[in-house]
């Protein structure tokens, strides 16, 4: 099982904080998020991926963590995700 958590304006927009994905195989974070988007769309009729990703690039300020590690610090959207992983998804946020 992979846990995907939505936060900040994304969780407020979707009305969803957590999605559990039953996955046995390794896959890229991009593939996982596309799968999750379909699950969320079924629940909410809303899409979210366009807010985070443009073509194959992560939008500036989007934060996607795999077990607390930012995917931009390694292979970006090609980072691999395994069963048991926890994903945290944030649209841009900042402050002081």
């Amino acid at each position: 099982m992979i846990t995907v958590n939505f936060y900040t304006t994304l969780s407020l927009m979707l009305g969803v904080k957590e999605i559990l994905v039953d996955s046995a195989a390794e896959q890229s974070i991009k593939e996982l998020l596309e799968q999750v988007e379909e699950i969320v769309f079924q629940k909410t009729a809303k899409r979210f991926l366009w807010k985070l990703v443009e073509d194959v690039t992560i939008r500036r300020g989007t934060i996607i963590l795999i077990n607390g590690r930012n995917i931009l610090d390694s292979n970006g959207l090609n980072c691999m995700v395994n069963p048991g992983d926890t994903i945290a998804v944030f649209p841009p946020g900042g402050g002081g």
Binding site: Y7, T8, T9, S11, L12, R59, R60, G61, T62, I63, L65, N67, G68, R69, N70, L72, D73, A88, F90, P91, P92, G93, G94, G95, G96
Partner: protein, 592 residues
Amino acid sequence: MNILEAKVLRVNLSSKSISSEQLDSNLLKTYFGGRGLASKILADEIDPKVDALSPENKLIISVGLLTGLAGPTTGRYMAITKSPLTGCIASSNSGGFFGAELRKTGHFMIIFEGKASEPTYLSIDDDKVELRDASHLWGLNVHETTDRLLEETGEKKAKVCCIGPAGEKLSKIASIMNDKDRAAGRSGVGAVMGSKNLKAIVAKGSLSLEIAEKEKFREIVREKNKKSKEDGVSGEGLPALGTKVLDNIINQAGLYPTNNFQYCTFDGVNEISGEALVEKKYLVKNKSCFSCPIGCGRSVVLPTGDKGEGPEYESGWAFGTDCGVRDLISVTKANFMCNELGLDTISAGCTIAAAMELYEKGYIPEEDLEHGPKLVFGSSEAVVYYTQKMGLREGKLGNLMAEGSYRLAEHYGHPEYAMTVKKQELPAYDPRGVQGHGLQYATSNRGGCHVRGYMISPEVLGYPEKLETQQLEGKAQWVKIFQDLTAVIDSLGFCLFSSFPFRADDYLEMLNAATGFNMTTEELMAVGERIWHLERIFNQDAGIKPEEDILPQRFFNEPIPDGPQKGAVSKMRELLPEYYKLRGWDESGYAS
């Protein structure tokens, strides 16, 4: 009035004399306004070794060079003085509407000297400037002071800047407040104002500001406002959740200082996060400062009926996570109390957190609580109770806490439990997990501070690009660039949050159109570097040594115990030599 007319009010509170001077306009090109120019004047006019609470210190209230124009976020002003908390230069920044109103009176800066013989306030109505008795206001909270002044001056549209009881009682963590809930929070600037028996400034201005290229400026601002609205942070994150958009971001990144920086993740985050403020329906609406397209301010009403502005991320963290408290109502109440008392929320919350660790370790004797609630992590009762006590200097602990966490911890024989740099409390990001930010904390010219060079932007948020948190290479240069650009922003009068959508070139376009300076980006950044260097020299002359460019020992000796950054320690000492070299200082860190 042209914005390059740098008219300064000099107010001698001892002799009650008020005079108006014109500054050399060349100084505007070398230091801009706000933080830069006021720091230059302070450095020229006082002995840096002066006692910060003596009449020999000066308090300068200064707007930025572009403050008062209809630019994106051009409403900021600064309080510049020598800090009683740190002994360094204090430059505390605030938003709201007071700064713009002051500018419209035709005054760019007010220099307060000496000390009034009794409580006093300054009234400015364009060029009609008077010192008036404030004895009837002394002891009043910030909101009541503001309401009374607006009523008695009959000027409902005037703007008020004042201190609360904390500043009157010379708390070293007292703030200067304006527009009721906006704070020039850090470094005890409120105590300096209180030491001069200066209760408030009331400003009402009617002048319009003339600039070099009106149409061009308007066009550029239109484009910049659009840029701000389209940016993810300034256009969506901040308006929707305020700065508390950061709670879960920082917690998930494993950088969320918990229980006085003993841990870096908090399992109570969902009770006190920015999302919780919305979901619990405490947030009524967002609020904007002068000419601001962002609107990050929070207008909040609690189920208890208490209402006000806040909490910000830092305030919510300081009374919440740092004290282990997961009760959003108490956290918000403590924030509101600080606004009324005129206390810095970061320093106040962190001082309580330090007291909690000291108490739990057995260093604060039971009798010192004087029947107050136990200072244990997680006690929402304690954060509310001791905030009140420290704001009024009541009781033994209230009196000690009013001195800030370093002096509190030192009194009990354990200064190592104060999470401070140069005696100013550290804000809401653990430096062990972000190496560049740790260097920034240690080298900030005003002591522990995140906004002097917000390295969280690249290291965590990915603005303008993502840097790996534990990477050391290149970090010293990034810190310098952020510090220099922030000095520029503070001197032009923009809000720091404009730096999410904007780069140096964006500020340059607006500056050149407004002033006709025709500067380059290099010249712009050189102003920032110059300001930073001047502040460093002031601090050196005040007796601050490079050895104080250091973090508390916890960050070197105690690896992060939890979360995704588990095992990390600060390596900022390894970055210092390169940083000093980039600054042009000697190997020991001395500037000349």
